[in-house]
Symmetry: C2
Subunit: 175 residues, 2 copies
DNA sequence: GCCTGATAGTTCACCAGCGAACTATTAGCC
DNA sequence: GGCTAATAGTTCGCTGGTGAACTATCAGGC
């Protein structure tokens, strides 16, 4: 895992040099988006390294947590796909893996036999309650650089950004 | 591309339900890190969809841009690896792909024949100057929700966060 | 000069995720 | 009731990225 500091510095320099040749480049925005991706990537890698001992990656983990947090502990692959930003293909594989470990179960829906019902098992619940707490301290540590006010401000701006880019992303808007 | 709004809402709800069962969970931090990853992911997907017509993904693009922005237009794979947060394996493949399109060239360093010198070609420079400007408007649009002050604040906090998690990520610190 | 260890890249085998094609089921419509 | 279109999942083949093993080169001690 490379240290971020030199990367951030190199990025500022590199972007600056490009801007000299292409002056219309929006430097602040480039720096923002790059730093955002860099930071998210570092957090993700750190998180997945914590999940690795449990044999999970972030997608598996999120899938399991969505079932854990659902009202009745069940959901269809399709629902999970949209919530987890996954394609059906991948959700099939994830469900296979989790089912193989008996963390979730598979069944066909009675009212619509096309649908599959994934449900977290008691073993799955025990697994979550056991593995979750150790993840908290590093997470707290990650944001320990923020004062309460800064944390609030950051969350507010981040949420604003998330909801703003929301409608921009989708290219296929032809009805 | 799914819309982010319902995802954000669902996340807030889901995390809330988990917190009822596991009260020691640091809810604000969980929301922060999730929203950060979600936003960065959406921006990345949007960006890569713009790169696709040029036959590049973000890694290819960053590699090419690092060469473009370097002082003399050249660098070794190792340098690019550390700056682009890539493993050597992947950099080999990226360099192969870019070299095949004559956007960069390959040569052995004279002073250390282990090293390889990657250099952006004139065609590569033309390619960059042509493809770069169309990327700017969508990028500006992405952050158009921010006032100048908000943008500054966001960048400041993001940079603070990036530099803070920097030393936390690395697990192998045994000398 | 020569052996040992370190370093720079590459190759190989694998995993995670995706698009396209396919299957099974359901809904709508005549 | 039977045909058509739409929907939910799965399978298959491919791309992007990784760790482990390997090759080639260099550096340092002797």
């Amino acid at each position: 895992m490379p240290s971020l500091k030199p990367l951030v510095d190199a990025m500022y320099e590199g972007v600056g040099r490009v801007a000299q040749r292409i002056p219309e480049m929006p430097v602040p925005e480039v720096l923002l988006v790059r730093m955002l991706m860099m930071t998210a990537g570092a957090l993700l890698r750190g998180f997945e390294s914590q999940l690795k001992p449990y044999g999970l990656n972030d997608s598996d983990f999120r899938t399991l947590m969505m079932l854990y947090s659902s009202e009745d502990g069940s959901a269809s692959p399709g629902e999970l796909c949209s919530l987890a930003e996954q394609k059906p293909t991948n959700m099939t594989r994830i469900a296979n893996a989790l089912a193989k470990r008996d963390l979730i179960s598979r069944a066909h829906a009675t009212h619509d036999r096309r649908q599959v019902v994934l449900r977290i098992t008691p073993a799955g619940r025990r697994f979550v309650t056991k593995m979750l707490p150790p993840l908290f301290p590093p997470l707290l540590q990650s944001f320990a650089c923020f004062s309460p006010n800064e944390r609030k401000t950051f969350e507010r701006l981040l949420k604003k950004l998330a909801l703003h880019i929301d409608p921009l992303v989708d290219p296929d808007v032809s009805p």
